[in-house]
């Protein structure tokens, strides 16, 4: 059973749009393990703000273009 995180993301889709970048490539450029990128994509782990910014930067996008947070959970 997986416990979903509140932070959502579309990293998998964005990787494909960036020349089919692999999880390992993204992980290597961000400085985390491939398993952590996989866990983030599956919503099993919310990355730190620092890693979230790094992922967004590697993908050439702003933070909120990569990650989302449902409005009803923000209060």
């Amino acid at each position: 059973m997986t416990k979903p995180t509140k932070v959502t993301n579309n990293i998998r889709q964005l990787r494909q749009e960036h020349g089919d970048m692999t999880q390992a490539e993204l992980a290597g450029r961000v400085g985390v393990t491939r398993q952590t990128v996989n866990a983030i994509e599956q919503g099993k782990y919310s990355p730190s703000l620092q890693v979230a910014f790094q992922i967004s930067r590697v993908l050439g996008l702003n933070l909120e273009e990569v990650f989302g947070y449902p409005p009803d959970l923000s209060g």
Binding site: M1, P4, V32, T33, Q35, T36, Q42, K44, Y45
Partner: protein, 139 residues
């Protein structure tokens, strides 16, 4: 499975193997007598040998399977390790308090020593097991 998750699995296997062996040795040496009569003190030190052997062989194997991931760790591993340690810390504390009460009740040193030992081993088992749950389920 990340290297740290594999490493945690190896350590759990080593703990179960080594302290399972320890328990068997205690009952074997008792030879039908009450177990608290066994001279357990040497065993407490000797059990470290199978623990180290199993852990070392296990780590060599998981490193050989994927050398590039050897000893890799990141913020998720550290977060999961911290959460596991909290559980382990609670168990060690409970065992410590139980041992304190046992000492005040003047229970035999065999049982006091084994309350502490059981607390330490159970803490490591709970820590590792919770880490594996978090790796699989998410944090």
């Amino acid at each position: 499975m990340s290297f740290q998750a594999k490493s945690t699995t190896v350590m759990l296997a080593a703990l179960v193997g080594a302290y399972g062996w320890y328990g068997l040795q205690l009952f074997r040496l008792a030879e039908g007598s009450p177990v608290e009569t066994v001279a357990y003190q040497p065993l407490v030190f000797v059990v470290v040998v199978p623990l180290v052997v199993i852990a070392t062989i296990g780590h060599i194997l998981i490193t050989a399977v994927n050398p590039s991931e050897a000893d890799s760790t990141d913020e998720r591993d550290r977060d999961i390790a911290r959460r596991g340690s909290v559980i382990g810390g609670w168990i060690v504390s409970i065992a410590g308090i139980a041992a304190l009460f046992a000492a005040m009740a003047e229970v035999g040193h065999f049982w006091i020593a084994h309350l502490i030992l059981a607390g330490l081993v159970l803490a490591e088992l709970a820590d590792g097991s919770w880490r594996l749950v978090l790796y699989r389920r998410g944090t």
